[in-house]
Symmetry: C2
Subunit: 201 residues, 2 copies
């Protein structure tokens, strides 16, 4: 005896999602079976609606209901500075941190193992934006990990010929952390990137 | 700036699922946004279909496309023995182990912390089955954990007045394990439940 085909199908669909293994997919499928009919329907509708109502901003490529997105449409932004990030969630994080320039969302990182090549990212769109608008500086804001660093390198190279300053985020000890528990790579970068103290250097 | 409402809605829906936290819900929502439109649609349809095409067997309460389920409808089964389990997945496990009687799926375990009372389980249906059919033995097949043991106790008590034998699964060292790495509770139960060796007791 096997599960009814509709359950197997739903397990297969959940199993395709990132970070969801076979056991979790099964658990989720039985959850959908157990909840009130309205709740299951809401999930199905939410999946449909997100595809119908959300698009990529034609300027910065973040997710948005209206095109251009609220940030690209905001006249109060510093339009000369573009912060390049991996994902829409990174935009949220920098917004919360008070950044007031524009963004460009790459849509991922270069990762040959998973088949993600530079052409799969929105680097071409970024080059066209720089050519078309008065952008003075591009800040590379990828994650400080292996894929993020590699992607930053690729983006920097592809922008080399364009008349724009390229910078990257500062590296060092994160605010609020304890030196005692910081790892060696973090401390080494903090020492290597040390800055003069005002009036004492 | 916040995510478009459709994304927030989908994140909330995923967040309701068991074992899915806020971060995972966000990751899943962006996955739905990123995949091909057909794949997102397939997931939405699979959720709808599972609710439309799967029901509880009117006899054993397992999940099934046809009612009664294939096991309850099978004339080759030993209809005098009913193995009571927590979930439909447990039926799969005992089928693979070669059990040839009938099942009864409780639909969960008693868990006051999560608000699951005995009345939320299919114990009443089990009592009616025993009263209506020639069932000689009920085997309690719940998980050997805190909730499972408690639920077995509740079921045994509710069946006390009925003319049926009640048994539980054997406890001891699991086949294929190593005594060296077995935990103390397992070994204590294996010693306490020791059985005579044929012809030597």
């Amino acid at each position: 005896m096997a599960y009814p085909e509709a359950i197997q199908q739903l397990i297969r669909e959940f199993d395709k999602m990132p970070g969801i293994g076979a056991r979790t997919a099964e658990r989720l499928a039985f959850h959908v079976l157990r909840v009130a009919p309205e709740e299951a329907l809401q999930l199905a509708l939410a999946i449909r609606d997100v595809r119908k109502n959300v698009r990529a901003c034609s300027q910065c490529c973040t997710v948005t209901a209206a095109d251009p997105c609220a940030i690209c449409a905001d006249p109060g932004r510093d339009r000369s500075t573009v912060l390049v990030v991996e994902q829409p969630n990174d935009v949220e994080a920098f917004e919360a941190a008070g950044f007031r320039g524009l963004y460009h969302v790459l849509g991922g990182v270069v990762n040959p193992v998973e088949g993600i090549e530079p052409d799969d990212l929105t680097i071409d769109r970024l080059k066209k934006r720089i050519a078309a608008a008065k952008i003075a500086e591009v800040i590379l804001g990828m994650d400080p990990d292996f894929e993020g660093e590699g992607t930053a390198l690729v983006v920097a190279q592809q922008l080399k010929a364009l008349p724009v300053r390229i910078s990257r985020l500062a590296r060092g000890i994160p605010a609020g952390s304890a030196i005692e528990y910081s790892n060696a790579a973090v401390l080494a970068e903090a020492v290597a990137g040390r800055r003069p103290v005002e009036g004492r250097a």
